[in-house]
């Protein structure tokens, strides 16, 4: 049988060679043809690329004619023909005026229409070969005889049939389409087909939307339903799209399997369908074009212009959406399937089987022609030697079992596999006895099936050796001869797969062990694969969310995450994922009772022992209580700091009154002056204007003071934003200026002009600074003879922190331990200042900073706080 196959292959090869030779002989050598491609779409569309690639490839393979290419891409989807037609015609006629075009190749229906409309003007009498994606766009009766081409067609029928075969339980088909004219026309075409299925399954369209809405709609499709992605050249916001990019986006979010119609959905994660095979289309068109160029006429409608879409399915998508491979129709081509043990060594196995087939043929001939026996024996010996060599290399045992005679023949390796001595007689029952009792029945059934159907035998089973050891055998064979007839044989090979089996078993065990541990752990555990989709949730998680594993798998878990947290989490996850880094995030997750609980999620990348990235594993704990406690602490701190601020402002009331009196005094003086000037009637308008400007300025100044006070005493929620610390200092200086005067104190500042921003609450930081400055004033009161001086300094510490220091020239801190100041202040009761410092410290700590004090060189105390610089890398934004 193999023999025959091989010879037929050889025949095919010979024919192919002779065809090539004939083609070669027909070439005229130096002939050169000009081919103009008129593409109605843009060159970067994957379908266009695929078609053009194989089209030119085929031309390249032909030795003649030599072709000079010209291409025009009209992009009619974005630049409608009706608006630009006149210009295009003028442009083309001018551009190609001096050139003889031998063949025009319109690509897409719009391009064909355009070319036909203006053929007489632009390319009179030039033959055309078109490639059109929708047969309805071609009117065969209106085509001139020298215009032909190939049409792809979207095969909705067979794609829907495939989907329903794979998902008989589906409740709905969601047809997704873009917003371009082509998208709309294809959707309409598909709609008519889908209407035909109305009795079996309802359908609805998601079309004429912006891309993100399309994605959102698909995200909501229930698992188990069917998404039929028809086409998307453009969305409703005018964005140019490609089918693979949209398909990938849909696959990422969809819980339901996605089917497509275009070959470009292949390898995007979609299941597949009766797909347009663009490369094949290009090749077919090229064949046609070559013929036309050589002078042949192949009218549209002949078999050479006909196409049929192959049914192609992505094996990985089947696994992902758990669609059983067994439901695939026979014609389906499964792509991207990882090779099985057998597929990894097809050469050896085919070789071995072929050798065996030849051997049996030899034996048969021996029986017929005894005269050639000696030669045959020699040939047999040679053949056996070759066979043994091949088998040895693959560690395969070979066997032939004569069904009627019960006798079995086995190579030495085969005997070793079953623990038979090299010279022992082997028959069916001898082998049967060696098979592990639990596997005997299944093996018998497999053999029986092979014999009855004259088909393949494929089986993995255990063998129990005489010494008690168990060995896994993988066997594969084929029935030869008539079913139940005399001379029927089963021949095949066997292989020791114990090691692989053990490895599989160990893996299974370790997985089972992991699941046990995971399910009994008091935390929620999840795992994801290399595609970011979740592959496992432990019992803790499922109990918490009250959902089934199937609901949570893939991206199902995301439904439980609070809407407000989702985007942030996804970003953190995706960013960590790309970098293969650990991450930590907090979000609200819906508990089975519907309440959203805060959880802390720690994710870690997983790697195999040889360092291959496998995905992520993460654990979550419910931190709602902790979070609430934190919020309560924050609330109390804000309350306390508010009280302290009110107290502070109270302490400064008289100074602030003075600060307010200054502008008021100026206003009164100016107004009185105006009054008098007007009474005397001797004021110039310019002077009057100047006076009014002064009044306004002083009014504003008074307002600012009031705002400053209001800001301090107002009870506000803590609000973090990026701040310039120098501005905080300036605000505080405005408030304390009067107080400094009252204390007879000189305030000097040394501010670094270019400070990084800090993330903080302006009012709270003002409060801290105010506290420190007023403390400094008070400290100076204790040394009345020293000149009262307070220095405020801001500066960067390296690049990551900002320091603000307040230095006085008072008596300083207790020399033995400066930090005791804080304790002592803290324990001082009733005194506003004492509370103030403690609160100041807690405020700074809430800003992830430190507040401390030291004795300054040259006398006096120096209080300073440092807060981290706010770096606007999103990864470091606190959440």
């Amino acid at each position: 049988m193999m023999h025959r196959e091989m010879s037929s292959r050889l025949v095919a090869l010979v024919i192919a060679f002779s065809l090539l030779a004939a083609a070669h002989a027909g070439d005229t050598g130096e002939e050169r043809k000009n081919v103009l491609i008129l593409c109605g779409e843009r060159p970067d569309l994957p379908a266009v690329r695929a078609v053009m690639e194989t089209f030119r490839e085929r031309f390249g393979a032909a030795t003649a004619p030599r072709v000079e290419w010209f291409s025009e891409y009209f992009d009619f989807a974005r630049f409608p023909a009706e608006q630009h037609e006149a210009n295009l015609v003028r442009y083309l006629s001018e551009r190609y005026a001096g050139r003889h075009i031998d063949l025009v190749l319109p690509l897409t229906g719009f391009a064909l229409d355009f070319a036909l409309r203006h053929r007489d003007q632009l390319f009179p009498g030039v033959p055309m070969v078109f490639i059109v994606l929708d047969p309805r766009e071609v009117k065969p009766e209106r085509l001139p005889a020298d215009v032909t081409g190939v049409t792809a067609h979207l095969d909705f029928q067979r794609t829907v049939d495939l989907a329903l075969q794979l998902q008989p339980q589906a409740r709905e088909i969601v047809a997704v389409s873009g917003a371009s004219a082509l998208d709309a026309s294809l959707l309409e075409q598909g709609g008519r087909v889908l209407d035909g299925y109305k009795d079996r399954i309802p359908w609805r369209a998601v079309a004429q939307r912006p891309l993100r809405e399309m994605i959102e709609e698909v995200r909501r499709v229930r698992p188990g339903d069917i998404v039929l992605f028809i086409s998307a050249i453009r969305d409703s916001e005018g964005r140019a799209l490609t089918i693979p990019e949209v398909s990938r986006a849909l696959v990422r979010v969809s819980a339901a399997p996605i089917y497509g119609l275009s070959g470009t959905v292949l390898d995007t994660g979609a299941v597949g369908g009766a797909l347009i095979d663009f490369p094949a289309l290009g090749r077919q068109a090229a064949e046609l074009a070559l013929k036309v160029l050589r002078g042949a006429q192949v009218p549209y409608g002949t078999p050479e212009t006909d196409t049929r879409n192959p049914l192609i399915v992505d094996w990985r998508a089947l696994k992902k959406w758990q669609l059983p491979e067994s439901r695939l129709p026979a014609e389906a081509i499964v792509r991207f399937k990882p090779p099985s043990l057998w597929k990894q060594h097809p050469g050896i196995i085919i070789g071995v089987v072929a050798v065996m087939a030849m051997q049996s043929a030899l034996i048969a001939r021996l029986l017929v022609n005894r005269a050639k026996r000696r030669r045959a024996v020699r040939a047999l010996a040679e053949s056996e030697e070759r066979m043994a060599l091949a088998a040895d290399a693959a560690n395969l045992g070979m066997w032939v079992w004569d069904v009627a005679g019960e006798d079995a023949w086995m190579t030495e390796q085969g005997r070793a596999l079953f623990g038979f001595k090299p010279d022992a007689r082997i028959d069916y029952s001898a082998i049967f006895d060696r098979v592990h009792p639990e596997d005997r029945e299944a093996r018998e059934a497999a053999i029986k099936r092979a014999l009855e159907t004259q088909g393949k035998y494929e089986m993995e089973y255990r063998v129990q050796l005489p010494d008690g050891a168990v060995r896994w055998i993988a066997a594969r064979g084929r029935s030869v001869g008539k079913a139940n007839g005399r001379g029927q044989k089963l021949l095949g090979v066997s292989m020791d797969v114990t090691a692989q089996k053990q490895a599989q078993e160990a893996l299974r065990e370790s997985e089972a062990r992991f699941r046990t541990v995971a399910n009994t752990a008091p935390v929620m555990i999840w795992m994801s694969g290399t595609d970011k989709r979740c592959t496992f949730f432990n019992k803790g998680w499922l109990d918490f969310t009250g959902r089934a594993m199937e609901q949570e798998l893939g991206h199902g878990w995301a439904e439980g995450v609070h809407r407000d947290d989702f985007d942030r989490c996804l970003e953190i996850y995706a960013r960590a994922f790309e970098a293969r880094k650990t991450f930590e995030m907090e979000y609200r997750l819906r508990r089975a009772d519907g309440e959203y609980r805060w959880v802390l999620d720690n994710g870690t990348p997983r790697f195999s022992s040889d360092g291959v990235f496998l995905g992520y594993i993460g654990s979550c704990v419910d931190i709602t209580e902790r979070k609430q406690a934190e919020l309560e602490v924050a609330r109390q701190r804000s309350e306390l700091s508010h009280l302290a601020r009110v107290a502070l402002v109270g302490e400064m009331a008289t100074s602030l009154a003075h600060e307010l009196n200054q502008p008021l005094t100026a206003i009164v003086a100016n107004a009185s002056a105006a009054h008098r000037f007007l009474a005397r009637g001797n004021m110039s308008p310019d002077e009057f204007r100047e006076l009014l400007v002064d009044i306004v300025a002083d009014g504003c100044r008074a307002g600012e003071v009031i705002r400053g006070i209001k800001g301090m005493v107002r009870k506000v929620e803590s609000e973090r934003r990026a701040l310039n610390v120098n501005e905080v200092v300036a605000d505080v200086l405005r408030l304390v200026r009067a107080d400094a005067l009252a204390h007879g104190c000189t305030l000097t500042t040394k501010l670094e002009p270019t400070l990084s921003p800090v993330l903080g609450d302006a009012v709270q930081l003002q409060q801290v600074l105010l506290n420190l400055i007023i403390n400094a004033f008070d400290a100076m009161r204790k040394t009345p003879n020293a000149p009262c001086r307070v220095e405020i300094q801001s500066r960067m510490i390296d690049t990551h922190a900002i320091e603000v220091a307040v230095r006085d020239f008072g008596p300083g801190l207790p020399a033995d331990s400066p930090s005791r100041v804080f304790e002592r202040f803290y324990s001082t009761k009733g005194d506003g200042m004492g509370m103030g410092l403690a609160i100041a410290r807690s405020i700074i700590e809430a800003h992830a900073g430190t507040l401390d004090a030291e004795n300054a060189e040259g006398g006096g105390a120096r209080f300073w706080f440092r807060v981290p610089a706010y770096v606007t890398t999103p990864a470091e934004v606190p959440v």
């Binding site: 003075h658 200054q662 008021l664 005094t665 206003i667 002056a673 009054h675 005397r680 007879g744």
Partner: protein, 206 residues
């Protein structure tokens, strides 16, 4: 007010107060001049004509009260009106005791401030008058010979010629002649007038 030769000085560290006060005084027909600190005022030569000083109490470095003290110490007797946004009673008392004309809160009432300035200028004018009289009297006294001065002292002390002669150990007749020369040099005709001149010159009877 018709005091066109009078000058009002404003000392305040707040620029907008300075501007507004100068403008305000100008609207009342008064010449005004402003200084941003006590130090700047002290650097200016003392005013020649009648003047008053409107002074902010709270200022960095030398404050209003410090300036008042400094002026007294250098025997300048400017008429001072204090303005304060934050005055307390002790501060006010101290200022008044040291001779301030008034102590007004900020913001001030315009007529209050103007009447205080008026009073201050009246006092300044009187003061100037006193100073003129004094210097005139002193000039006259300076023309007396030592013996005539001794006689002058005796007369303003209310002594009789006989007593003076006894004190000086000269003849009564000589004293009479010398007394006549004193009255002539001092430009007076009565003892009462002589005593007043002595007072103006600040000479106390010994």
């Amino acid at each position: 007010m018709s005091t066109s030769d009078a000058l009002v000085f404003v000392v305040d560290d707040d620029a907008s107060i300075r501007r507004s006060l100068v403008r305000f005084f100008r609207s009342a027909g008064l010449m005004a001049e402003a200084f941003e600190s006590a130090r700047a005022y002290l650097d200016r030569p003392p005013p020649a004509g009648p003047s008053c000083l409107v002074l902010d109490v709270q200022m960095p470095e030398l404050n209003g009260l410090d300036l008042q003290r400094a002026l007294i110490e250098s025997e300048r007797e400017e008429q001072i009106i204090f303005l304060t946004g934050k005055g307390d009673i002790p501060m006010c008392a101290r200022a008044m005791k040291a001779g301030a004309v008034d102590f007004l809160p900020k913001p001030f009432k315009d007529d209050e401030l103007l009447s205080a300035v008026e009073r201050a200028l009246v006092r300044s004018r009187e003061q100037r008058l006193r100073r003129t009289e004094q210097s005139e009297a002193r000039t006259r006294i300076a023309t007396l010979s030592p013996r005539e001065y001794q006689v002058f002292e005796g007369v303003i002390a209310g002594k009789l010629n006989k007593q003076i002669a006894a004190d000086l150990g000269t003849a009564l007749k000589t004293v009479k002649v010398q007394r006549g020369r004193v009255m002539e040099k001092m430009g007076v005709v009565s003892v009462a007038e002589l005593v007043r001149q002595a007072q103006q010159a600040g000479v106390a009877p010994s």
